[in-house]
């Protein structure tokens, strides 16, 4: 459940970043397409990074050992 919510957050942030890039750096259709590609790629990379770490911790196999290591 938390996974879907945060994924949606990443999508929203990605869309907002695309719009901001379009507004702030409007320099012709070709450059705009390039900027859009960059923003989408960056958003996907950041999401993948987060998602991998999150999924790895959803149901951990390695049982946590408290107090013994400290």
């Amino acid at each position: 459940m938390g996974f879907l919510v945060t994924t949606l957050i990443f999508v929203v942030i990605g869309i907002i970043a695309c719009l901001c890039t379009r507004i702030c750096c409007n320099r012709g259709p070709s450059a705009n397409l390039f900027h859009l590609t960059l923003v989408i790629t960056a958003t996907i990379c950041c999401w993948m990074m987060w998602a991998i770490v999150y999924l790895a911790q959803m149901k951990p196999l390695i049982v946590p050992i408290l107090n013994e290591g400290e």
């Binding site: 320099r27 770490v53 149901k59």
Partner: protein, 681 residues
């Protein structure tokens, strides 16, 4: 318009007028009006310059004329005095020898007759040429002339060259027209300027007065013209800075508009060579493009991997480097280079500094992504109840289970990222083939590659995700091995979902089929295509037997299209093997994502905290010093290039290797002269 501005600046520099850099007027010139105005000003300036040159030329000639008249006047006066003295001497002889009156009278008559026939030419000649000039004239006339030269003390402005030259005034007395023509030719050869004058003293004085008057008048005209020119240049200088800024702004905007990764459109010439490649880049994207070009220059109109490299390269670096503290250090270094950008660009830097400055935007991007991934993958502890929302649970740090968990996490993360990257590369090859309308590459290269990669390693990625989601205890390592060794055995405790055995069998079969699919059809289809083309040429040859030239051209074309089936087959075999083995080794090489964090933790715990624990000031200072040296020397200066090189290899081998041929060559514009640094944009 930039050319006209440069012309104006040059003229102003000559005239000593400095352009006003800050214009008080805030008029906004329209670009069309500016062009018209510049055109008018240029025409006016050129006309003024031409008029000034003409006036100056005439002025110099008149000055020479005046000098000639003065010197010749002197020569004639001295000659006259000598003649008078000579005459007196003759009279004295007459008195002594009174008996010989008759012969003297005859001699006088003879002299008078001779004087009437003499002519003379006067002018100026270069001093260093005067002696050869005199010798040649004397020889040409065989001694039947009289030449007199006078030195002019100060240099004279030459009308032709406009330089100050040392000259001599000369007068030549001769008899006969033939000698005259010879003398004229010699004067022309030596570049001597000739001026007409009279032998009468009173007329000479009158001519001098006339020439002096004309000189004064012309000087006044020249001065007026110079004042007018100066006024015009000042007017131009008043607006020059403003116009220059406007033009540069327009040019800069045009440059920005084409700053995206667009292949330039070339005029196609009649040649079999492939056209060169050119990508528009700005100062931000040029360094990323350099990384791609180091692998190979794109073939003409081939998909440019530099587009995705702008993001994926710093991201992959960050996955390996992955530390927000050191990321901040990198960011500060990059910001320093960017702030001092203008200064460093004009300086001569050392080799290492030059590289760092050239890649300052890469460093900035790597730093930003490092801060993010460092935060996203901070080490921590795992809670049983709920998943930690962002990054790794910090409580995990220092526990016994930290290392097994992190190693497992990073290994699986490496496989997921590596497979994603390779899939992106193969998808790019689809777009390449689609653009070039190469159906063979789509159906017999792209499709089997996708099938092979995803039926094995894509499936492995899927298993990883399922394992994470369900908390299964399955051993993926053994699972993958036994899929190949004994695909029909029961999975036992390694089963993750219902129907897994059947799915694995299907995927294995697909992978086995994909390899010959990749290998065999393409060479045969290429051979078939070639045969069809060859038959077409045979028909052409039959029609064109009468024309020898056409036959020769067809023969050349035939040689050009020669098809070697075995060569193509071997090439495809090598390519297939490379892909299959590459898929395995590239997945394994993704494990190089494991890096850095362990080293950082070691330095932090063993050096800094240890020094802090002693509760001693001196030990603490030494500990801090060692920690700083270790941080800068090892983690920033050694670990960063290491992660950089790994990211570079991942891009070249795992990503670009999948689709990028890179056998083109770079475009260099043709120019006779390079613009000066001042005019570069």
């Amino acid at each position: 318009m930039a050319r006209r501005l440069r012309l104006f600046k040059e003229q102003m520099t000559k005239a000593g007028v400095s352009p006003s850099m800050w214009s008080t007027r805030d008029d906004h010139f329209d670009l069309e009006h500016l062009e018209v105005k510049l055109e008018e000003l240029e025409a006016e300036l050129l006309e003024i310059n031409a008029n000034n040159e003409k006036l100056q030329h005439t002025y110099n000639e008149l000055l020479e004329y005046k000098l000639v008249l003065e010197k010749v006047g002197e020569l004639f006066s001295s000659a006259k005095n000598k003649a008078v003295a000579h005459q007196k001497e003759l009279e004295f002889q007459t008195t002594v020898e009174g008996s010989i009156d008759s012969p003297l009278l005859l001699e006088q008559e003879e002299t008078t007759t001779k004087q009437i026939k003499l002519g003379f030419i006067g002018g100026l000649v270069h001093r260093e040429k005067s002696i050869p000039f005199e010798r040649i004239i004397f020889r040409a006339a065989r001694g039947n002339l009289f030449l007199k030269q006078g030195v002019i003390e100060h240099p004279v402005l030459d009308p032709l060259s406009g330089e100050m030259v040392h000259k001599n005034v000369f007068v030549v007395f001769y008899s006969g027209e033939r000698v005259k023509s010879k003398i004229l030719k010699i004067c022309d050869a030596f570049g001597a300027n000739r001026y007409a004058f009279s032998n009468d003293s009173s007329k000479q004085f009158q001519t001098i007065r006339e020439v002096s008057g004309r000189i004064s008048e012309l000087k006044a005209t020249i001065d007026a013209a110079l004042i007018h020119r100066s006024t015009l240049l000042q007017t131009i200088g008043y607006h020059h800075g403003q116009w220059r800024l406007l033009i540069h702004k327009v040019l800069q905007r045009a440059t920005m508009d084409c700053s995206s990764q667009v292949v330039a459109i070339f005029q196609v010439l009649e040649t079999t060579e492939s056209p060169p490649t050119y990508f528009c880049t700005n100062k931000f994207t040029s360094s990323f493009q350099e990384i791609v070009d180091a692998y190979g220059i794109a073939k003409y109109q081939e998909a440019n991997p530099g587009v995705y490299t702008v993001v994926t390269f710093p991201f992959l670096f960050a996955v390996m480097f992955g530390d927000w503290g050191h990321g901040i250090c990198l960011l500060l270094a990059a910001l320093y280079l960017m702030i001092r950008e203008r200064k460093f660009a004009s300086q001569k830097l050392g080799d290492i500094m030059e590289m760092a400055f050239g890649g300052r935007y890469i460093i900035m991007m790597m730093a930003l992504f490092s801060i993010y991934t460092g935060d996203a993958s901070t080490t921590g502890f795992i809670k049983v109840r709920s998943t930690y929302p962002f990054g790794v649970d910090p409580k995990c740090h220092g526990t016994r289970s930290e290392l097994p968990f992190l190693n497992s996490l990073k290994m699986k993360m490496s496989i997921l990222l590596g497979v994603s990257q390779m899939n992106l590369g193969i998808i790019m090859s689809y777009f390449n083939a689609k653009y070039f309308k190469n159906n063979i590459n789509i159906w017999y290269q792209f499709v089997p590659q996708i099938i092979f990669l995803n039926s094995l390693f894509g499936y492995l990625s899927l298993l990883i995700i399922i394992k994470w989601s369900t908390g299964s205890q399955a051993d993926l390592y053994h699972l993958m091995i036994y899929t190949f060794l004994s695909p029909t055995d029961d999975l036992g405790e390694n089963q993750l979902f219902v129907g897994q055995k059947l799915l694995q069998l299907v995927l294995l079969l697909l992978a086995v089929v994909a390899v010959p699919w990749m290998l065999l059809p393409k060479p045969f289809l290429l051979k078939k295509q070639h045969q069809e083309r060859h038959q077409g040429q045979s028909y052409d040859l039959l029609c064109g037997t009468d024309d020898t030239l056409e036959s020769e051209s067809q023969s050349i074309a035939h040689d050009h299209d020669e098809f070697d089936f075995s060569e193509v087959f071997v090439h495809q075999l090598i390519h297939t093997i490379e892909f299959v083995l590459g898929a395995v080794s590239n997945t394994a090489s993704s494990l190089r994502f494991l890096a850095h964090s362990e080293l950082s933790s070691v330095f932090y715990d063993k050096v800094l905290l240890l020094a802090w624990g002693y509760n001693n000031t001196i030990v603490l200072i030494i500990g801090i010093f060692v920690f700083i040296c270790a941080t800068v020397g090892v983690l920033l200066l050694m670990e960063s290039p290491s992660a950089f090189l790994h990211a570079l290899r991942l891009h070249w081998v795992e990503y670009q290797n999948k689709f990028y041929e890179g056998d083109g060559y770079k475009f260099f514009p043709f120019s006779f002269t390079l613009l000066t640094d001042e005019d570069e944009l």
